[in-house]
């Protein structure tokens, strides 16, 4: 008879328990809520997939999802190229390297709600430095509490200010790991700066850029704190992103069922798009 070593279970079990309590159980609770209706007192009524259907069909959800995709799209299209450009123009050696790195890391060290509060005060008309400067010095009407466009510009600029550094630092790490020999080879061939970027720097940065894009996608798609503190989703619903809407439904209206269903849909979309990004960006290497 073949004896099998069952000792492995002892090593896996603690991890399994840990994962169960911090991920599996909470998610299953959400799943539980998403298919039932409750009126408190732990009384539940089976609803099936009604909540999912209701959420997916609602104009409110579709609008919030649209805003969310627009926000994430703008963030990626601005932060990724900007991050690469900044990384390219940073010094590769010398006394300015640590200075640049610390300056770059600073915005990321500030707590998210503080970032929101900072930009709120910064942009308020009359009181804020930027608000005052735009309205009273330049004479450009700018009020992110009243004007949806101004609100959008403000949350985008705030996120760019807060998170471009992440792309910069990752790209920079990729850039400095390229041996000098590659640049010499390019010099000997007489390659133009664009070709050096296209055929040496970009391929060598690919791995870190994949990570940067994934992180920036997930973070911007799930963003909550900063825009909530800055605009509270307003004016009107113009900056109500998915997470802000979700909190309104779950904690404002206390509709736990629809909120749970929405959470799962939200999670599924994040997962799906992340997977798509990852597959597309690593497809080349698999060949």
């Amino acid at each position: 008879m073949k004896t099998e070593n069952q000792k492995a279970w002892f090593f896996v079990l603690p991890v399994l328990l840990l994962v169960a309590f911090n991920a599996l159980v909470p998610i299953m609770t959400v799943v539980n809520y998403s298919v039932q209706e409750t009126f408190g007192n732990n009384v539940f009524f089976w609803q099936g997939l009604d909540w999912f259907e209701q959420i997916l069909r609602s104009d409110r959800f579709q609008a919030a999802l649209g805003r969310q995709f627009l926000f994430t799209f703008l963030i990626l299209i601005i932060e990724i190229p900007l991050g690469i450009i900044i990384a390219l123009s940073m010094p590769k050696k010398g006394m300015w390297v640590p200075v640049c790195l610390v300056l770059m890391a600073l915005p990321m060290l500030i707590p998210w709600n503080v970032v929101g509060a900072m930009w709120n005060i910064f942009t308020l008309p009359k009181i804020g430095l930027l608000g005052y400067f735009m309205n009273d010095v330049l004479g450009i009407a700018y009020d992110m509490t009243q004007n949806p466009f101004a609100a959008w510009v403000t949350i985008i600029v705030m996120d760019v200010w807060h998170w471009t550094s992440l792309v910069v630092l990752l790209s920079y790490a990729g850039l400095v790991s390229i041996p000098d020999a590659y640049y010499q080879a390019a010099k000997i061939d007489g390659a133009s700066p664009w070709k050096v970027f296209r055929y040496i720097q970009l391929p060598k940065m690919k791995t870190v850029l994949t990570i940067a894009i994934l992180l920036r996608f997930m973070d911007s798609f799930n963003i909550y704190t900063e825009p909530f503190v800055l605009t509270g989703g307003g004016p009107g619903n113009s900056t109500t992103l998915l997470s802000i809407d979700l909190v309104k439904i779950a904690l404002g209206q206390f509709d736990l069922g629809p909120a749970a269903a929405m959470s799962l849909i939200y999670f599924a979309i994040t997962l799906l798009v992340s997977w798509l990004f990852y597959t597309l960006m690593t497809k080349d290497d698999a060949q």
Partner: protein
């Protein structure tokens, strides 16, 4: 085509990396730069390639002063110790890249790339990416690029250092014929004396940013100008000891003495440095004129058909390298025999006397 350095100097922030160097390198044979890591081989290559600016002096190619010319316009190739290929191009595109930048016609590029690929046996891999190739194939791809380009000068900076032993031997055998008859000046940097000997041609010995000697490889091996050159061109390191000459005899500080013959007998009385290659120091005497030395065995190594022993003699550490397997005990007193007729004698300023 000749490549000529006229007092070429390199300085970085006040520190001299290459002291004024003058050399004339010719095609038709390998020009080996031999020196230890940090001796300035790569720095010198970068000066010739135009990758680093000259602090002083000039670089001439084919009777033309190229000191102010950009790297690209010098029409050179460089193969590194690392396998440098464009990662997201196929082998074909990698070999073709300098030709495309030069604006060559498509049909000619095709011909040249295929020719180079045939010479380096890369034909079946032309449509693969570099990272799908083995280390040896990647380096052959880099070499193919250098050959296809048909540049005026080819710099090979320790191209075999990162290959495993067998591949290194194989590629080293191919190298001379690869560049034979191409009219390019081939400069080959290495830290291994054995490689310089195998590649033949001419050798420039480098030490601390100075070319200490330049000439036919065999000639330099047989007659190093100075103690530094002798040290650079020996692996394992050359054995050295202080001797005193009085009359027709040499005396070592440890007591051994022997009668000098030939040119050594003509030296003026005084203090000299004796240097002798490890394979002229053996555990058994092969002739009657061998000088007996008593040493304490420190380390022994057996490599294939050779045994080597590091031993202490007076204040000096010496190495003996002999054919066959010799039993040594670490720590024991052992007799070694030196073929004094093969010794070099250097004056106190390091210059070869005999």
């Amino acid at each position: 085509m000749t490549l000529e350095l006229k007092d070429a100097t390199k300085r970085v922030r006040g520190i001299t990396h290459i002291k004024p160097t003058s050399l004339v390198m010719e095609p038709g044979h390998f020009n080996v730069l031999l020196g230890q890591t940090g001796s300035g081989k790569t720095s010198l290559i970068k000066l010739m390639a135009g990758l680093d600016p000259l602090a002083d002096g000039e670089v001439w190619m084919d009777g033309q002063n190229v000191s102010r010319l950009s790297t690209q316009k010098r029409n050179i190739s460089l193969v590194h110790q690392f396998f440098v290929n464009y990662p997201h191009m196929t082998v074909f595109d990698n070999i073709a890249s300098p030709l495309r930048v030069a604006g060559m016609a498509k049909s000619e590029i095709q011909g040249r790339v295929e020719e180079a690929a045939d010479i380096l046996q890369l034909r079946p891999m032309l449509h693969r990416r570099p990272q799908e190739l083995s280390g040896g194939q990647q380096q052959r791809c880099a070499l193919a690029r250098a050959i296809a380009k048909e540049s005026r000068a080819v710099f090979l900076d320790e191209p075999l250092a990162n290959l495993d032993y067998k591949l290194r031997e194989e590629l080293r055998e191919q190298l001379p014929e690869l560049f034979a008859g191409r009219g390019a000046v081939v400069v080959y940097a290495t830290s291994e004396p054995e490689e310089a000997l195998l590649l033949g041609g001419k050798t420039a010995l480098m030490d601390d940013g100075v070319v200490t000697q330049f000439g036919t490889t065999a000639q330099i091996y047989r007659k190093p100008d100075n103690l530094t050159a002798a040290r650079v061109f020996s692996d394992p390191p050359i054995n050295a000891a202080r001797i005193t000459k009085s009359g027709g005899a040499a005396h070592m500080d440890t007591g051994a003495s022997w009668t000098l013959s030939g040119a050594a007998a003509e030296m003026a009385d005084g203090i000299y440095t004796l240097a002798i290659r490890p394979h002229h120091v053996t555990p058994v005497p092969a002739g009657t004129d061998y000088v007996k030395l008593d040493g304490t065995v420190l380390v022994t190594e057996l490599s294939g058909s050779e045994s080597s022993a590091h031993f202490q003699i007076g204040d000096d550490g010496w190495v003996s390298l002999a054919h066959g397997v010799h039993p040594y005990e670490v720590g024991e007193q052992h007799e070694f025999y030196m073929d004094a007729s093969q010794a070099f004698y250097f004056a106190e300023d390091g210059r070869l006397v005999a």
